[in-house]
Structures are given as structure tokens and as C-alpha cells.
């Protein structure tokens, strides 16, 4: 961990007044948000509120029109590209599961696992025993051990979700961004995911976007509600759930 | 001793970009061979043509040449159109001591023991044409547009022409040199610029545009209304076949310089045309309803017949002996003149003719040399060529 990503300030991620416009449509309107080191933060909000867009901004996929995004104390993410951001320790699970369909489950994890990712290392270095152990563990965790040699494209929707979570864990990021991780999972698996995130919190900073309120209730300490590209409410779940505006735009009566 | 047939190679592209020009040369060679066979062959042996398709691909030309010479053991090869294809097969002919007859006008600057050049050298086409344009009969042009496709043949020809024009007192300001890429198909700008240039005095265009660009060029000339009476265009690569693709009416009066035109009126040509028409019809050559002859076809025809005569003189197909026997061969060519192979320089003595396009796509011969002209493969307009020997190196 280098100087810049040092988290001694206690803030893992800090967004200030971020604006994003698509063809005149303002998807993010002055979004400000900060997440502490080791925090597990849930983000909720209506469809189209800008949650995914926010993650796109953090991971460098979308450039904000204005505003600042800092990782740790001084790493300005708006000046970095995707691999740099990933290398700095931010990992992401996409809303729509994206895995490498032509590679096997094992190979998917192998690519993700934390290692020297330079061209030269990829060409000459053998996979380390440690990495193999780590992949083995992960395969157990995501219950795909018996599919390790299968092409990821053949997995069912839920299995892909799990694989992607596995890939995210394999990267050992400092900050995990999860966009609707339990969509399409059974209740049982939702519970397992909740447990998993609980154990990860503390060592990692985690930001989860979900619409499944039971799941949110199971993990959330602090919840942020996004609406029309800005923060509508923030606080403990119970408080947020009883906020009239949140009920109006999001939860329904 | 051998009584079997004599194999003869034919190396013309039947596909790819050059097929447009070369296909008829294959048919012409086949026709000449058939004619010879009908008269009993050569040295009592029939000729057996071996046709291959080098597909307008230069390395393939070399490969096919090697195959013809080494595997098929042909006694002679008739083939090539572009200079680059000839250059590509040359080393093979030299290595295997083969014999090539090359039937197309070219830029010169070459003289090889294994090749006989039956097309024109620059002094048998380009220079007389420009001389004509400068004459009173040709319109007395004072300014010249040298327009060509951007490759070696036009560039060289124009280099020679520029030197020639200088020698005639034409200043550089009165010469406009323009090139277009191969396959160029939009001549609007060029024609407009020619028009502009022509406002400075009587102007003629010397076109070394080759291949597919000619049709769009002439169509544009017609559309832009640039008439031959104002700005005549003389071309070195446009003959009857090339005009097949254009409506010639707007082009009446534009010129071409060749050593043969289909419209020539003489018994030899009448017979040549008749033979070709009959051959085209009986062998299903495309467009039998409008059989055209042109200069490279004549050159091919001369080549096949001269080779036959040389073999008969040498009494063998042995390449070195045939080469020796070729010197001074004469053939009453369809041009109406007797073409003669030079004693030394492997090029034909040919008449130079200048024709004007007629509405039916034929040429009206408006000028010709009194007799055959000897080729100068090493142009005197290129520095240093005065030292060149006018015969192939012996090594």
C-alpha cells in the first residue's frame, strides 16, 4: 500500500459535488458522499437514481463533468484510468453479471486473483501455489468447485453472480463496489451473501447497491438514499425507511 | 529426334485486375498456335499450348514461370503485360535459360537475352506522338499536360518526354505533370485543372493513364465538354479494347499512338481481323458479336509467328539457337508493314501510327511514319544511356 492510498484519514472514498450529463440528461446532480475505512454502506434509491452511474464514475468508466472523487487521502480517481483504479484497490461487481464466458470458472478467478499483472509477469511467471490455494478457497466460498473446469458462459444467471463475487474477492480490493449482488439469488443465498459481506466489512470498505430491503436490513449500518442524482437521505435504515420522501419515491406504501 | 508436340507456355492473367487486358492476348496466342498447327506445326511437330493463370499477382507470375519452364518444359513463353510482371519473371527466365515474348509497349531501359520485346519502346510511340502534336497538322501544341497513373511506366515515359520537350524549347512552366493512383476513378479535378491550364495557350494532354482509370477519365472528358479540337488528348495505353467500355462519341478526335490499329486497311490486316473474328466465334471468346483487335494482340501474333520462323530456321527449339535465329526475322504484320526483329537489340522495327478516335470507337489514322522505326530501348533522353550497348549483356 503506498502513500497515496493510505487510509489513515479514516475516509476510504470521498465524492464531492459530482455531476454527470448524458446528452443533456443530468444523471448525477452534485452528488456528495463519503465512506469510511472499513465501513459497509448500503445505497438504495429508485431505478434511475444514478447508483450505477456513480459506480461508473468511481471506477473510471464514466468521466464526471465536474466534481471530485478521492480514494483514500489523496488519490484523485478522476485523473486515472480503469486499470490504474483497479490496481489502486477498487474492485467492482457489475449490475449485469459480467464474466469471461469463454474461459473456465477457474481461469476467470485466476485472472482476477491479486498478482503482478504486468505483461511480462503474465508471460513468464507461473501461477503461485498461494494463488492456487486462494482460488481453491474462493471456489468453495462461491460453491462452484465442481464447475471449476466448466466454461463460465454455461453457468446459470445466479451462478454467474457468484462467480463475479468470487472474482471480486480474488482481487482483494480495499474498496468493494457491489451493484445488486443478490439479484436473482434465492433467499438462502441472499443470507449467505449477507454473512459474507459482514465478515468482510472491517478489513474492507464496502459499498453495496441493492433493492432487496431484507438484505439491506441484514447488513446495513448506514444507508444512503439516492434520488435524481443526489443524496436524498442518509442514516440508519430504520430512520431512512420511515422518511416520508423515501417512502414516496422508493419504498411505496 | 523428338516427334512429340512442342509445349508453348502462355502466361497471361485471366483473373484479377489485369484480366481485363490480358485475357485476349491468351486467346490471340492460342489462335496463332491453332493456325500454325493447322498448317502442320513447326518442324513437323504440333504446338501444345500450356495455359496458366498468374492472376495479376506478381510473385505468382514468377512461380508460374518456373513451373512452365522447369516442370512443363515449354520451349517458349508468351506472356506478361505490366512491366512489374515481366521484371518478376525475368530472373526465372535467366536462371533456367527460358525464352519470353513480351507484347506490350513499355518504358524501355531493359534489354535481356531471354526476352524478345514485340511491343513499342518509348521512341516507337511516345516521342513521335508528341512530335505530331507540336506540328501544325497536330494542332501546334505549345503547352503539355503529362498525365499518368502513378507508377514506373508513366513516370519514366514522362521523364523521357520532359527531356524531349526541353530539347524542343518547351519551358517547364508550359508542362504540367499530374499523377493519379491506380484505379483512380474521379477525374473531375484533373479535368478542371487541365481546362484551366489550357487557357494559357494551345495545350495537348499526353496520357499514360493505365488500366481501369481510362474509362472514368474519358467519361469525365466527355462530360466536361473538353473537346479534342480544343485540347487533344493523346494516349499510349488506350486502344480499341479500352474504348470498348466508353461511348466514343464525345471523344471523337482524341488520339492514340500505336504501331497497329484495327482500322488499318490492308490485306494482312483484313485477314488478321477475319481470323480473329472466326476464332472468337468458334471458341466462345466473350463478346464474339464485336470482335476487336488491338496493338498488343498484333504484337502477340507477330511474336508467335516469328518464333515459329526462328525455330524453323534454327531447326530446333533450343533456346540459344532460337535466339540467334530470331535476329533479322521478318514477318508481314497486320499493320501492313513488314515487322523486322532487330539484329541485336531484341526489339521489333515497327511503324508508328497516330490515330484519332472515331464515333464508333475505331481509330482514324492521321499520321504515320514512312516506314518501320528501330527501337531505342535505352532512351537517349536518359543520362548515361549513351554508354549502353544496344544488345543484351552476354553474361
Amino acid at each position: 500500500m503506498n502513500e497515496a492510498t493510505e487510509m489513515s484519514s479514516g475516509v476510504a472514498l470521498y465524492l464531492d459535488d459530482v455531476q454527470v450529463t448524458f446528452d443533456g440528461f443530468r444523471a448525477l446532480r452534485g452528488l456528495s458522499l463519503s465512506i469510511d475505512v472499513g465501513e459497509l454502506r448500503c445505497i438504495i434509491g429508485p431505478n434511475g437514481a444514478g447508483k450505477t452511474t456513480m459506480m461508473d464514475v468511481i471506477t473510471g468508466k464514466t468521466r464526471p463533468d465536474t466534481g471530485q472523487v478521492f480514494f483514500g487521502r489523496s488519490l484523485d480517481l478522476t485523473k486515472m484510468n480503469e486499470p490504474q483504479i483497479a490496481a489502486a484497490g477498487i474492485g467492482r461487481k457489475f449490475q449485469k453479471p459480467t464474466v469471461f464466458e469463454h474461459l473456465t470458472v477457474f481461469e476467470n478467478l485466476e485472472l482476477a486473483v491479486k498478482a503482478d499483472k504486468s505483461v511480462r509477469a503474465s508471460l513468464f511467471r507461473r501461477i503461485s501455489g498461494e494463488a492456487i490455494d486462494r482460488i481453491g478457497e474462493l471456489l468453495e466460498t462461491v460453491e462452484l468447485a465442481d464447475k471449476a473446469q466448466e466454461r463460465a458462459g454455461l453457468l446459470s444467471h445466479g451462478q454467474k453472480q457468484w462467480l463475479e463475487i468470487g472474482m471480486l474477492l480474488a482481487q482483494r480490493p480495499l474498496l468493494l463496489l457491489l451493484d445488486e449482488p443478490v439479484a436473482g439469488m434465492t433467499d438462502h443465498e441472499t443470507k449467505r451473501t449477507a454473512e459474507l459481506l459482514q465478515t468482510l466489512a472491517g478489513q474492507h470498505s464496502i459499498m453495496v447497491v441493492e433493492h432487496d430491503m431484507e438484505f439491506v436490513a441484514a447488513i446495513a449500518r448506514k444507508v444512503t438514499v439516492l434520488h435524481e442524482g443526489a443524496v436524498l437521505a442518509e442514516g440508519p435504515l430504520s430512520e431512512v425507511q420511515s422518511d416520508e420522501r423515501v417512502i414516496e419515491v422508493y419504498l411505496g406504501r | 529426334a523428338d516427334k512429340g508436340p512442342i509445349k508453348v507456355g502462355i502466361l497471361h492473367s485471366l483473373s484479377g485486375t489485369m484480366a481485363i487486358s490480358e485475357t485476349v492476348l491468351k486467346d490471340t496466342a492460342l489462335m496463332a498456335i491453332e493456325e500454325i498447327n493447322a498448317k502442320g506445326g513447326v518442324l513437323g511437330r504440333k504446338l501444345e499450348p500450356v495455359v496458366v493463370d498468374p492472376a495479376s499477382n506478381w510473385p505468382l507470375f514468377a512461380e508460374k514461370a518456373r513451373q512452365l519452364l522447369a516442370a512443363d518444359k515449354v520451349a517458349v513463353v508468351f506472356g506478361c503485360w505490366t512491366s512489374v510482371s515481366r521484371k518478376s519473371v525475368l530472373p526465372v527466365f535467366k536462371e533456367l535459360n527460358g525464352l519470353l515474348f513480351y507484347p506490350v509497349q513499355y518504358e524501355g531501359e531493359e534489354l535481356e537475352k531471354n526476352v524478345f520485346y514485340t511491343g513499342a519502346a518509348p521512341n516507337q510511340q511516345a516521342i513521335p506522338a508528341v512530335e505530331y502534336l507540336m506540328s501544325k497538322a497536330g494542332g501546334g501544341a505549345k503547352r503539355f499536360v503529362l498525365l499518368g497513373t502513378d507508377y514506373v511506366y508513366p513516370r519514366t515515359t514522362n521523364k523521357i518526354l520532359r527531356a524531349f520537350l526541353h530539347s524542343k524549347g518547351v519551358a517547364d512552366a508550359d508542362i504540367m505533370e499530374e499523377y493519379t493512383p491506380f484505379g483512380h476513378s474521379d477525374y473531375q479535378t484533373i479535368v478542371a485543372n487541365i481546362k484551366k491550364f489550357a487557357s494559357g495557350g494551345k495545350t495537348a494532354v499526353v496520357s499514360t493513364i493505365n488500366g481501369d482509370s481510362n474509362v472514368p477519365f474519358y467519361k469525365e472528358l466527355g462530360n466536361a465538354g473538353l473537346k479534342a479540337t480544343e485540347v487533344p488528348v493523346v494516349a499510349f495505353s488506350v486502344g480499341e479494347e479500352e474504348l470498348r467500355g466508353v461511348d466514343a462519341k464525345p471523344l471523337v478526335g482524341h488520339l492514340a499512338a500505336w504501331n497497329y490499329f484495327m482500322s488499318l486497311k490492308n490485306p494482312a490486316n483484313a485477314e488478321f481481323k477475319k481470323k480473329w473474328a472466326a476464332y472468337a466465334k468458334s471458341h466462345g471468346v466473350a463478346n464474339p458479336e464485336k470482335p476487336l483487335t488491338n496493338d498488343p494482340m498484333e504484337a502477340t501474333y507477330i511474336g508467335v509467328n516469328m518464333w515459329k520462323q526462328a525455330v524453323e530456321k534454327a531447326k530446333t527449339t533450343d533456346v540459344d539457337k532460337v535466339i540467334a535465329a530470331m535476329a533479322g526475322q521478318k514477318f508481314a504484320a497486320p499493320s501492313g508493314f513488314t515487322a523486322e526483329m532487330d539484329e541485336k537489340n531484341h526489339h521489333l522495327h515497327k511503324p508508328v501510327l497516330i490515330g484519332e478516335v472515331k464515333a464508333d470507337g475505331q481509330f482514324n489514322v492521321v499520321w504515320k511514319t514512312p516506314g518501320p522505326v528501330r527501337a531505342q530501348p535505352w532512351s537517349p533522353f536518359i543520362a548515361g544511356n549513351d554508354q549502353k550497348k544496344d544488345e543484351p549483356d552476354t553474361n
Binding site: A183, T186, V249 | -
Partner: protein, 232 residues
């Protein structure tokens, strides 16, 4: 009414659906539950005709449609909300909806019925936006709307609530309820969200490793211990 009998399906050599039989009656909502990877999506795709089946029959109102192409099935009134939304990403929202009406004769498919916008007001705001630009949940709404505008006889929905905000899930629940109450429509719903499924189910089916292992009335789901059963 949809009747499935003895359905078998393979991907290559792996046997995915094993002798699946059930009926989904008209005027009722049949909910299919099962863990990840048991073959729910495969079943729906087989009904739609997108993946070929190896054996068995699929009858719609008594006629076997298992040999028909997907578009012929759609023409007979099957509408499909696939998992993963599968909207036409470069068509506008409006065009996506018009595509939903492709089975209707051209004259009747010039404009989108306005009821749909009452259900999904966000779509109305975004008519000119390209489908692919919508947020995940908006796309899901569009996919449902696209199926509904075709006036189907049978609608099959694959986890339609995935990624949708709670208030709209409630709304969708109400819509499905009212549709099934209307009586002319058979609904087959695949759902992971147990509470949502239970509230809607007239009948339920539970699938495990490619077979239907439990079925019953929706009202009995809690009693039958389906919540725990699915979790195992």
C-alpha cells in the same frame, strides 16, 4: 392454458430438464421456484422455443406448439419476459414497446396503449431514450411492458422483479394479480423472491435438478414449508 408433459431438455450431453410435467391454467398465476441453476430459465426458454427440446409436449389451449418457431409461438399468444431483460438496446423505448406489438396487424400497432404508462410512468418520460441507456431497473420495467402490450394468452416471466425498486415491485404485483383475475390469461412466473411469489401464486411449482419436485396451491405454500424447502 399451458400444459407441459414429459419435457426433456439437454445442453450437449448434460440433461437439464428431466421429465417435466405441469399445467398452468388460464386465469391463474403459477409460480415456479427453485435454486440457482436448477433449470428454471431453461424451462421458460423451452416453452418459448428458444432452446430446442429433446422430448415431451408443450400444449397451449390443447394444441402442441413444441414444433413451432418462437415467432409462431408468439403469434399464438405467448409473451416472454426473459432473464437479463434482453431489450433492444439501440431502439428507443417507444420502439421497444412497438416491437412488443409485432404480432399484431400493422394497423393496430401504430401507437402504444397508454395504460402501460400508468403502470410504468418512467417509460413515458423516456420514450425517446435508447433502451440500452436506461438503468437496470428501468430496463426491467420496459421488458415487462413490452410483454404486456402484446395482449398475450400466456405470459412467462423470468424473475421480473430483479433490480426493481420496492414500490414498483408492489405495483407489478398488483398488475399481475389483476391480470390473472381478468381470467383470459395464463401466467407462469419464475421467482426467487419468496414473499412476492407467495403473494401472487395461485399454484406453485418447485424445481430441483431439472425436475418438478413439489407442487400445490399458492395458499398452501407457507404450510407446505416451501420457504425452507427452497433454501436447502
Amino acid at each position: 392454458m399451458l400444459e407441459i408433459s414429459g419435457l426433456h431438455q439437454y445442453y450437449g450431453s448434460s440433461h437439464i430438464l428431466r421429465d417435466v410435467s405441469f399445467t398452468a391454467p388460464q386465469g391463474a398465476c403459477t409460480v415456479l421456484l427453485g435454486r440457482n441453476g436448477v433449470g428454471k430459465t431453461t424451462l421458460l426458454r423451452s416453452i418459448m422455443g428458444v432452446t430446442p427440446i429433446r422430448g415431451g409436449a408443450i400444449r397451449l389451449d390443447g394444441v402442441d406448439i413444441s414444433q413451432l418457431t418462437p415467432n409462431q409461438r408468439a403469434a399464438r399468444g405467448v409473451a416472454y419476459v426473459p432473464q437479463g431483460r434482453e431489450i433492444f438496446s439501440r431502439l428507443t423505448v417507444e420502439e421497444n414497446l412497438l416491437m412488443g406489438m409485432a404480432v399484431k396487424p400493422a394497423g393496430k400497432a401504430r401507437s402504444v396503449p397508454s395504460e402501460i404508462y400508468e403502470m410504468f410512468p418512467v417509460l413515458k418520460e423516456m420514450l425517446r431514450r435508447r433502451g440500452g441507456d436506461l438503468s437496470g431497473g428501468q430496463q426491467q420495467q420496459l421488458a415487462i411492458a413490452r410483454a404486456l402490450v402484446s395482449d398475450p394468452k400466456l405470459i412467462i416471466l423470468d424473475e421480473p422483479t430483479e433490480g426493481i425498486q420496492p414500490s414498483i415491485i408492489k405495483l407489478i404485483g398488483e398488475v399481475i394479480k389483476s391480470l390473472s383475475r381478468r381470467g383470459d390469461l395464463a401466467i407462469l412466473l419464475v421467482e426467487q423472491f419468496y414473499d412476492f411469489g407467495r403473494d401472487l401464486a395461485d399454484h406453485y411449482l418447485v424445481m430441483s435438478r431439472g425436475s418438478i419436485v413439489r407442487q400445490g396451491l399458492g395458499a398452501d405454500m407457507d404450510k407446505d414449508g416451501i420457504r425452507d424447502f427452497v433454501a436447502l
